[in-house]
Symmetry: C2
Subunit: 232 residues, 2 copies
Amino acid sequence: MSDERRVRILNATRELLLHYGYDKTTVSDIAQAAGVSKGAIYLHYPSKDALVEALLWHDADRAQQEIARRLQADPNGGSFTSLYVHGLRVAMEMPLLRAIYGNRQRVFGDVFKRLAPNFSNQAIRAAVIEFIRKYQALGLIRADIDAKVVAYMLAYMRYGLLTIEDVIPSDEAPPLDAVLDLLVDVLDRGFAAAGGDTAAGRSAYIAYAENAINTVRSQWESTKVEEEEDHE
Amino acid sequence: MSDERRVRILNATRELLLHYGYDKTTVSDIAQAAGVSKGAIYLHYPSKDALVEALLWHDADRAQQEIARRLQADPNGGSFTSLYVHGLRVAMEMPLLRAIYGNRQRVFGDVFKRLAPNFSNQAIRAAVIEFIRKYQALGLIRADIDAKVVAYMLAYMRYGLLTIEDVIPSDEAPPLDAVLDLLVDVLDRGFAAAGGDTAAGRSAYIAYAENAINTVRSQWESTKVEEEEDHE
């Protein structure tokens, strides 16, 4: 399949998942939205689940590349705060990623539980804690705070920001730029150490991010159950 | 009804809501758990909804008194950080309150939407922003940050902390004391101004909290639809 066609199919899948949710999206709908035949989809993706899974890895790769690109372009791009906030901004801007982080049942139905019932994020959480320790050693995060607790706080702040629309209507939210500017300001004051080695930080992050996606992927593959083909 | 009996009924209601959720809890279950007759409950609460509503106000009052008590006992009890963290700790310790802030469909079913379909938290959010401005004027929160954005950040941090158990199993979370200690530390560095008038802050908070609960209550009453009696 041509790359252009593959991306067209994945884009259609994303759009329908976000709009109608997993349960109400069929492979026929996706074929129609992408302007290809159902057969063309089944030639490359044995099931709707396989399609959703391919889309997830596709978007995860895109996000990682986009974060790396922004960090390279940011003169302050190795600081702890810049990592966290670039990551958050990309998650806010990529609705599927936002839905994953936000644990959205509507978008994904129970596809993850079904595909990999024993999948756990524990390995990646452990990697985050190790990464924070590295940043403390590089003088980029205060050394006097517990990396485990820092990781937990960063996780609940991100989760809160990505899901707060459930309780505060988004038309009442301040502009995203103002929200992220204040976050940067508070994190700089609260977590950052002064005078660390940001160039080393950036390299450490790139290595960490590649490793992290591999960790998640191998954890995912090892907990995956046999997929069935569906030809609705 | 005696106060002791009333509290016994409300406690049973709380316990069953948290354990089985609204939809699976009946007035008969509550009567049995409280050791009273169904008739005794209906004498004072015309419906399950009325009971849930009474429980909510009961717990909201308890929470407010408990927060005020802790602030009085805390030598630093008028600082911005102490307000926020005492409030958070009480919410973490009162499971029904946690469920309200955490927007838990399972616990409450659609009872709020049914009772007061047009209820909005907008008035209370506006009051929070006014309160933050007051704290800025008292020199207790940095004056160079936008109160609206501060309120939003405090809201998503709280929401994230109260719901993160959806994505991080609670047995993997650091101890609550460590979590709240780091939060206090980061908020002190990020938001607090030095040398404000904490005694004035505490008084302002007590006045604000009483007013806030009245604001929510009158907003609730004005959007409430007629309740029907149910005698299952």
